[in-house]
Subunit: 205 residues, 2 copies
């Protein structure tokens, strides 16, 4: 037993917390000591929620978003526009876009972006199922909403080529330019340059 901890149970719990991303041993200890101050049923509620999620997690068979049913709430919602597919990297991106309340179409969660450096090729992503959804028909527009990084751009271009056989489907990409409240002098030169090249008519509205 490690004398530093005086309890093997404590040490094991700290070890487990310290494995989580962004949590060091000091934070892990703080969290474990917090757990020790809680009622037993609260601690069991915490640990059950994690295990239950992992055991019963399910992904929508249409868009691959996390879902408790076979088809997620968004895909099965008749009030959403099933002719629009917004392609995102992960489920946090779905939440971020939902949070804007500016989109009423469906999603397609790729599960990542093409990144040879990290060993992620197109085969690891849900790209062929996207092509299947488009080739099944009824799709007007595919919106590429990936990060504006090199990996995102690579993935955009890969999907662009995969969807070339469907010229009737409009392919669009998120606008890139100054962020709202950006000060011009502090904007990076690539963003500023592209904003200038891609300037849009100003209608005074």
């Amino acid at each position: 037993m490690n004398q530093q901890y005086s309890s093997a149970l404590l040490e094991r719990a700290v070890d487990e917390f310290a494995k989580l991303p962004g949590i060091g041993r000091k934070s892990a200890m703080r969290l474990v000591l917090h757990m020790l101050r809680l009622d037993v049923d609260k601690v069991d509620g915490f640990s059950n929620s994690i295990s239950t999620l992992r055991h019963n997690v399910n992904y929508c068979r249409v868009c691959h978003n996390i879902s408790d049913e076979e088809v997620c709430q968004i895909c099965s919602n008749p009030n959403r526009n099933a002719a629009q597919i917004c392609v995102v990297e992960n489920i946090q991106d779905v939440m971020a876009i939902e949070h804007t309340q500016q989109y009423r179409g469906l999603y397609h969660v790729l599960g990542g972006v093409i990144s040879p450096m990290d060993g992620v090729g197109p085969g690891e992503l849900q790209i062929s199922s996207l092509v299947d959804r488009v080739s099944a028909g009824g799709i007007d527009e595919v919106i590429l909403a990936l990060s504006s990084t090199m990996e995102g751009d690579t993935t955009n271009f890969f999907i662009f080529r995969k969807l070339a056989p469907f010229p009737e489907v409009k392919l669009s990409i998120l606008a890139r330019g100054l962020s709202i409240n950006d000060e011009l002098q502090y904007t990076d030169e690539v963003t500023l340059g592209r904003s200038l090249v891609n300037r849009v008519p100003f209608t005074g509205k």
Copy 2:
């Protein structure tokens, strides 16, 4: 169900993580998504370690440090000086002092400091059991190793009065002064003032 999350199981797990101190909803989501990428047995290992600790946690009946046995490894170690008791606030402080490798006596974990603002009075702390240990005899020195805050000072003074009936027991307190590597100009004036008043002979060693 909250549409933001698209899965009640996911939402519950995020809620549970977000209850932990210092973890907001975004971090909670990041941690839960990390859990989803792990193998089932790793996730079960995590959640079991927390529940097992909470169900089976035990505190040393002598010093109140966390311990898997009735008496902790430190109290039951015959190589440690049982005539010295170092009084600390919590088990992290035990670890911090153990880490210095400068102390070979025993500990006494109070479980906090007197703080009327937080509703912590002397009765909530392990002070009477400290007095019992001292009155049982065989103690040469009690070292007060509490934080140098108002609450720590109040607690020090309370213990000082409680141990007044045992004048044969030396009562000491951690040295206070400049931290190692402190630059004088950036040291707060209270610390600097006390360091000056409590200056010690310099032997050139």
